[in-house]
Amino acid sequence: MRVEQFLQDSSRRFPEKLAVVAGDKRFTFKEIDDASGRLAAALGRHGVMRGDRVVIFMDNRWEAVVSIFAVLKAGAVFSPINPSTKADKLAYMLKNCRAAALITLEPLLPVARDAMAGALSVKLVVVTGAADKPDVRGGVRFEDALAGPGAGPLTDAAGFEPDLAMLIYTSGSTGVPKGVMMTHQNVVAAATSITTYLENTPDDIILNVLPISFDYGLYQVLMAMRVGATLVLEKSFAFPQAILNKIAAEKVTGLPLVPTMAAILLQMKDVKPGAYPHLRYITNTAAALPPAHITRLQELFPQTRLYSMYGVTECKRCTYLPPEQLAKRPGSVGVAIPGTEAYVVDDAGQRVSPGTVGELVIRGPHVMQGYWEDPDATGRALRRVAFLTEKLLHTGDLFRADEEGFLYFVARKDDIIKTRGEKVSPKEIENVLYALAGIREAAVIGVPDAILGMAIKAVVVSTNAAMQEQDVIRHCARHLEEFMIPKFVEFRDALPKTDSGKISRRLIDPQPLEAAK
């Protein structure tokens, strides 16, 4: 099965059923299927071929859902990129994957145009919301693309299951994003496994406010289309009451969260316990919820099953805790998802006994094919093991298991910071800091934060005495995505070094934080 068949099958089974709710717009499966077929045909007419990479640079909107399936129907590979990405980084990714096309929205066009200046592979830019023909190389209005005829079903010659379906860029410890390669088989395996343990059905109504550039958000789209459930897309969790109102109005049954969103929900004073009886499940991933938050969520949503989960982009999802285990082991992220294996090994690759900390490794049909054109990083993550036919994914996360095999996250092996549910490479931020005139030394660390999980702190040595915290943050905001911008900046005279003279993030003493409100 290929991923676009999720939508095509649901459209055949439930043509008139509600597929996507986005703002005040509502679309049936047939409408999304038709629109994506038309866009696929337009991509083909403009030269997008099988295997070409197409970057989707959009926020959570219905056009993004249509775009994902259109790219797949055209036999191409989609890469969703966070809409707060700045031109330099977008340019890097466009060049890295030699994107053939870009699909975006009018307000992001200036960023896209800057990024394309150095990315000559991009021949087509489909823009939604543009009044006239978009003023960019290869510019086409999304609305015009949709006005043409639709594409027929793909033949095997135009694409089959082992083809690459998507490229998801993720932060690496080197500070340069890496493209995680997922085939149709990988995506179908992951989506099937997850919808199995969540027991998703066509009756589900899933509210997704997580960015679709983030695999957790993206899979909400894919899984809803797979089971024929309704997807309610929201752009922001900034107004949690508005989200709760939407949950009530749409009778939402599934709500994916990250710990930051849970913390924000729990800060609300007036949520009445039991007010959302339709909500069948809440999922959490990215980092474990504090046990106190689990208790509070269960009080507020007594009819709702709460799933603690854990994943890495390299295999989408690793583990989930069956909700009935939550009371017994609130700190655990559970067991391997159905049809896969997850266990802890030592440095020699041997399985360790319960209670011993080691690296979590993953086996299964959901494991990526590697990082796009990065054999070294691929070789470190995917390792050949004597008795296995496939390669074993090394997550870079330290775990332990209890006597019954339930897994517990311990720490990252590298310095990657998890903030607001996203992985951030300190190196990537340090690279940006060094580009600010006057910065002589820079180190980025995570400091505990009740809302963000970890907050990003930049510790810098500046030769410019007039430099202020705001100057540093403004500079970062110009070059980094929203979630990577440091919350705190500290100026020092010197940074601690290792014996070899390298700046040591670990030797920087995190300052005590103001208590969260």
Partner: protein, 83 residues
């Protein structure tokens, strides 16, 4: 009085959020969300500011875009609460 409320809100937003952006000004009616000026933690900070600065108790039900998503909406909300 009117300009004072709007001025204080604008000052808070400029000091705390707008300095990140490469832009000179934000219109009174522009959506803070759409402009990328404010996010989830930003709204929490904004509410804490309104409660301290104007001595209000902001109910959860009031923390919605209709009340807080632009400088003029915030000002209107405060005037309604303090009237």
């Amino acid at each position: 009085m009117q300009t004072d409320i709007e001025h204080k809100i604008r000052q808070f937003i400029t000091d705390n959020f707008l300095f990140r952006e490469d832009r000179a000004a934000l219109s009174d009616t522009e959506s803070l969300l759409d402009a990328g000026v404010i996010d989830s933690t930003g709204v929490l900070e904004l509410v804490a500011f309104l409660e301290t600065e104007f001595g209000l108790a902001v109910d959860d039900a009031d923390i919605v875009p209709e009340n807080l998503d632009s400088i003029s909406k915030i000002a209107g909300y405060i005037k309604g609460k303090t009237a």
